[in-house]
Subunit: 354 residues, 2 copies
């Protein structure tokens, strides 16, 4: 196989606001370098000054609080390694594009180690009231979206149960270094297991709410699975990442040598459980790949690989299909929904045997 040099880089999907994904070959390592970690922004990246930054915690609480960055750093920290994927990742795989949506390839996913304060601790100190059902997270990013009349501020909610999970955190570091502006500096939420949209960047306000489900733009209009025709629409906010795999090696269009062993490898992940199995089809039916489960934490993607000796010249389709620990399997075709979220059809790429 003709190996390209692995260099950290990103492929720009849109310049302003900045949206960029990793070239798939940059996702071969277990931990994704920050320089190759996809960036998804809805508005201009806010440049937050530490001195003026505060994180307020309010709403259905008895002890509304305002934390400075220093207050946050004084709290006990933990480290969680977690894979985050954009809910729109793979959208380019749909035959008919959804209008106005970014046509992500397969690189809007990455795995990083996050260091921060368990959200559970921050919420506790604010004395939430018994009726609080959801926790709403507001970012510092705002602006007017195309087709919308008014300026919006980014916000999204979590059910209080998920918010109290031991692994949901307010992160201040990514791979051991301070967050970069693009990744939410100075502090962002990290919700392991959920699509990236839940991990609100540039976090500055937390609000506990009761009553009917919180529906704002980013979990009421966008980032929802909308199904059914006009008048019969059912919409459901995206939450846990669906089971999915990625073939990182060889690359699409590579040439591989007839009769010479080549390693076919990739990553697989799922929000609701660990990946338990990956099958690969190299033209002669599904074969089980080897999983590198032993080096993956509970919310990290799992590396997989299988050895292939090409026996026939010409173009060859390679397919990979992951199964997770709850029995979910990647479907052959993606599930249709209006804005084409949650693409997780069986992974495929083509190489040429020469």
């Amino acid at each position: 196989v003709s190996m390209k040099k692995e260099e950290p880089e990103l492929v720009i999907a849109r310049v302003s606001p900045l949206n960029a994904e990793a070239p798939v070959r940059a996702l071969r390592s277990s931990t994704t370098p920050v320089s190759s970690f996809f960036v998804r922004s809805h508005f201009a990246v806010p440049r937050v000054k530490l001195s003026g930054w505060r994180l307020s915690v309010g709403g259905e609480v008895d002890n509304p609080r305002e934390l400075s960055y220093l207050d946050l750093l004084k709290m006990p920290m933990k480290e969680v390694s977690a894979t985050l994927e954009c809910a729109g990742n793979g959208r380019a795989g749909f035959a008919v594009p959804a209008e106005g949506e970014l046509r992500w390839g397969h690189g809007a996913v990455g795995n990083a180690t996050w260091t921060g304060v368990p959200l559970r601790a921050v919420l506790g100190a604010a004395l939430p009231r018994k009726g609080a059902k959801e926790v709403v997270f507001h970012g510092a990013d705002s602006g007017v979206l195309k087709g919308e009349e008014r300026a919006l501020t980014f916000s999204r909610s979590l059910p209080v149960e998920k918010a109290m999970d031991g692994d949901t955190m307010i992160a201040v570091k990514m791979n051991g270094a301070r967050l970069t502006p693009e990744h939410g500096y100075p502090a962002r939420l990290v919700v392991p297991g959920w699509y990236g949209v839940a991990s609100v960047k540039w976090l500055n306000r937390i609000e506990l709410v009761s009553g009917k489900p919180y529906r704002a733009f980013f979990n009421g209009v966008k980032y929802v699975y909308v199904r059914g025709g006009p008048g019969e629409e059912i919409s459901e906010p995206v939450s846990e990442m669906r089971v999915k795999s990625l073939i990182t090696q060889p690359s699409e269009g590579d040439e591989v040598d007839l009769g010479r062993r080549v390693e076919v490898a990739g990553k697989a992940w799922s929000g609701g459980a660990m990946v338990s199995r990956v099958d690969v089809d190299l033209g002669d039916g599904w074969r089980r790949a080897e999983l590198q489960t032993s080096s993956a934490g509970p919310f990290e993607w799992v590396g997989w690989s299988i050895v292939w000796t090409p026996r026939k010249k010409g173009e060859q389709l390679i397919r990979a299909r992951a199964t997770d620990g709850r029995g979910n399997v990647q479907p052959l075709e993606p599930e249709d929904n209006r804005y084409q979220y949650g693409y997780n059809a069986v992974s495929r790429l083509r190489v040429r045997v020469v």
Copy 2:
């Protein structure tokens, strides 16, 4: 205050099977030494030989497995510090004893650091089927209970969502040392946030089940909240620990000096959230105690303290009341249920001011 020497020890509640709780003064440190950690056994402590021990994973899975101890040790480990409390802890606080139930004082609780394999990883490798709803855990302990005709083996279930939680684990170490026989050697489940009964000891079989809710003796007959009269009974298995506090200092019956400052201190915990507030009544209304939140992980109890200068000679009631991060507050009176589980009334003890 007349301080007794802090020595690791346990108070025996029943010799056979062994049931013992910590004297409350042994619970002053953040981490409870194994020698002072309560022991709750339903049957004789099984003496498990490592060579013969296997952990099977079966039921609604495509890849039933049998793990040796070595297989388990090869998997990636994590550490979680968690407070475990027996669901019967504090039962002695009910005015009328429930027949046949152990009359625990307030020491059937402890906080330890557990090292083990995330359950999520073990389950994933077994390829659970999509229909699996619950995960059943079987221990090696069995026998005939008083009033029951047939021999029972200890088993209990978790909803698959909680089983897939990143912090639920199969532990092989407690406070850095191999599990002792009484605490489940060679491997036990640890379910942070839930009453101790969920953390099945001497684990040797995991079974995924579908269909109607799994109800066996220890989550169908006992360890359930039974409410309502004959024919109208509602029963609900105990799960998350209720919000609760413990006064560890001074001790019941201590003498304290008039006009001399004394530290009143203790612990507080809750399964569904961290404790966010503790109020103490020293005879002149509720005052807010200081919390040592900064040294507690998300599933650990929190230390609290308040300084008191006694102003009146004679007997004095001290009360403590915890509030958790979901707005739950300890009630003044315990909630009644047939077997008196989940006692969490406001903590109280009496001292003598001299």
